[in-house]
């Protein structure tokens, strides 16, 4: 589409996307003490969108996704998830949060519970499922991540990659509408990264809305529709993976890519 053509057509704005906006962030600011982690962040996430966040360490990418499920509280600005304002009462926020799944860098499985119990705890106590229903659901998702045979084991008996797959299954057992991933492969041994990425690719194919902080640029190319590049607490670039990797606009993104892609 040429510039003149898009000027000639009156209605559809360039970002006209028929999909519903599920997360809206407006004017988000956050400090850790004197450190300004997030500066005036504005972001819309549409249903089914797969977004990869990247950027140097300390750029605020983890903090940004942690604000979306209120693990971090924003000082300034609005975050709306499915049209619920997260600055409202904690009760409403808790309801919204239960629609958002999160996977952590260090898995954060409950070490004293079996894999199955890790997956059934929240569905039973938050969603009110019976043990039988919860176990059925847990086995379904454990099967999806290829780990059903380990359901009776404790997390410490599994490899890092297996633990992270359990953590993904545990989050999926709540049937979330949005999944957040905070560097899901950064704590893994290199040979285990692929098995976790495979699960993420499969999950992306189901149409799940995903926001993923990662340094796996191959994964970003393959799966993401949008890459957000953050630096100094700001979103510097917001582009398709092709545009971002082949033709980064800012000097900082160019420098970052040069370092990370060797």
């Amino acid at each position: 589409m040429t510039a003149s053509l898009s000027l000639a057509t009156p209605t559809p704005a360039p970002q006209a996307d028929p999909r519903k906006v599920v997360v809206t962030i407006e004017g988000l600011n956050k400090h850790y003490g004197a450190f300004h982690v997030l500066r005036d962040i504005n972001l819309n996430v549409r249903e089914g969108e797969r977004i990869v966040l990247c950027g140097p360490s300390g750029s605020g990418k983890s903090t940004l996704i942690r604000c979306i499920n209120r693990l971090e509280i924003a000082e300034q600005g609005n975050i709306r998830v499915n049209d619920t304002d997260l600055s409202l009462t904690t009760r409403q926020a808790a309801e919204v949060r239960s629609e958002i799944g999160m996977v952590f860098q260090h898995f954060n499985l409950f070490p004293h519970m079996s894999v199955l119990d890790n997956c059934t705890l929240a569905p039973m106590s938050v969603r009110g499922l019976s043990r039988k229903e919860a176990e059925e659901r847990a086995r379904f998702y454990l099967n999806k991540v290829g780990i059903e045979s380990q359901a009776g084991k404790y997390p410490s008996q599994l490899s890092g990659g297996q633990q992270q797959r359990v953590a993904i299954a545990r989050a999926l057992c709540m049937k979330p509408k949005i999944m957040l991933f905070d560097e899901p492969t950064s704590a893994l041994d290199p040979e285990m990264v692929a098995e976790v990425l495979d699960v993420l690719v499969k999950l992306a194919d189901t149409g799940m809305t995903m926001l993923c902080v990662t340094h796996e640029m191959g994964f970003a190319r393959q799966v993401a529709e949008r890459v957000l590049f953050l630096d100094g607490g700001q979103i510097i670039e917001d582009a398709s993976p092709e545009a971002f990797f082949n033709n980064p606009q800012s000097a900082r993104a160019k420098g970052f890519l040069a370092q990370i892609l060797h």
Partner: protein
């Protein structure tokens, strides 16, 4: 020295026949006293630990002050303060209808021991709660678990593994410190020992007491080992 003579020196059959049954009673009193006050102390201690870790400054200060006082003064002084000190305010306790409690040495002892061990246990629980990785709280939040579910299902079981060692230590110290109860007319193990000694003037009575305390401590030690293995079964 013949075997019978040696036996008479450490386990005289006559003496045993006369005081043996009392020792059984004393043993039971000590067991009951420690079990009751340690359990009540654990409940109070957990509440104190939660208060110290809460965001409420008032609760923090109150709990810290409590712990400061009860860890910083001798158990004996606390017991005397309760039994002789508060117990001397007869008129007041009769007015508020608590005289039945404060005139009774048993109740006062259980209360003093509970208040004392609660302070120590509070510090144990506080440390063990802080030892649980912050990621566990985050995971529980991210799964929208209620605060009570998070505490009882996720945090407490993990922190108890850390707490069990020091708690066992505290329990063993309590068992031995419970001998203090004999000073306010309780016939616990030490109470009956003193009674038997004052009548027989035979030092072997104290030997019996020492061995019986050792026996209780050994039972406790073994049960703790068992509990520890059970709580930590996922760590093997």
């Amino acid at each position: 020295m013949s075997f019978d003579q040696l036996l008479a020196l450490v386990l005289d059959p006559d003496l045993l026949e006369r005081y043996g049954p009392r020792f059984i009673d004393g043993l039971l009193v000590t067991g009951k006293l420690v079990a009751l006050s340690f359990t009540l102390g654990a409940l109070l201690g957990m509440l104190l630990a939660l208060a110290r870790l809460s965001n409420n400054l008032m609760l923090q200060r109150l709990s810290a002050g409590y712990i400061y006082f009860f860890r910083g003064s001798p158990l004996l002084a606390q017991l005397f303060l309760l039994y002789y000190g508060l117990g001397s305010l007869k008129g007041f306790w009769q007015d508020v209808g608590l005289w039945w409690f404060f005139r009774d040495a048993w109740y006062c002892t259980v209360l003093a021991f509970t208040l004392n061990t609660a302070a120590y246990q509070a510090e144990i629980f506080r440390g063990s709660l802080l030892a649980v990785a912050p990621g566990q709280y985050e995971a529980a939040k991210a799964l929208s678990l209620k605060r009570s579910t998070t505490f009882f299902k996720v945090i407490l079981p993990q922190s108890l593994i850390v707490a069990i060692g020091p708690l066992g230590n505290e329990l063993i110290l309590m068992i031995k410190a419970s001998a203090i109860a004999s000073l306010v007319t309780i016939y616990d193990l030490m109470g009956v020992t003193k009674l038997a000694f004052s009548r027989s003037f035979d030092f072997q009575i104290y030997l019996w007491a020492a061995v019986l305390y050792l026996l209780i401590v050994e039972i406790v030690r073994r049960s703790l080992k068992h509990i520890e293995a059970r709580l930590g079964r996922h760590l093997r």
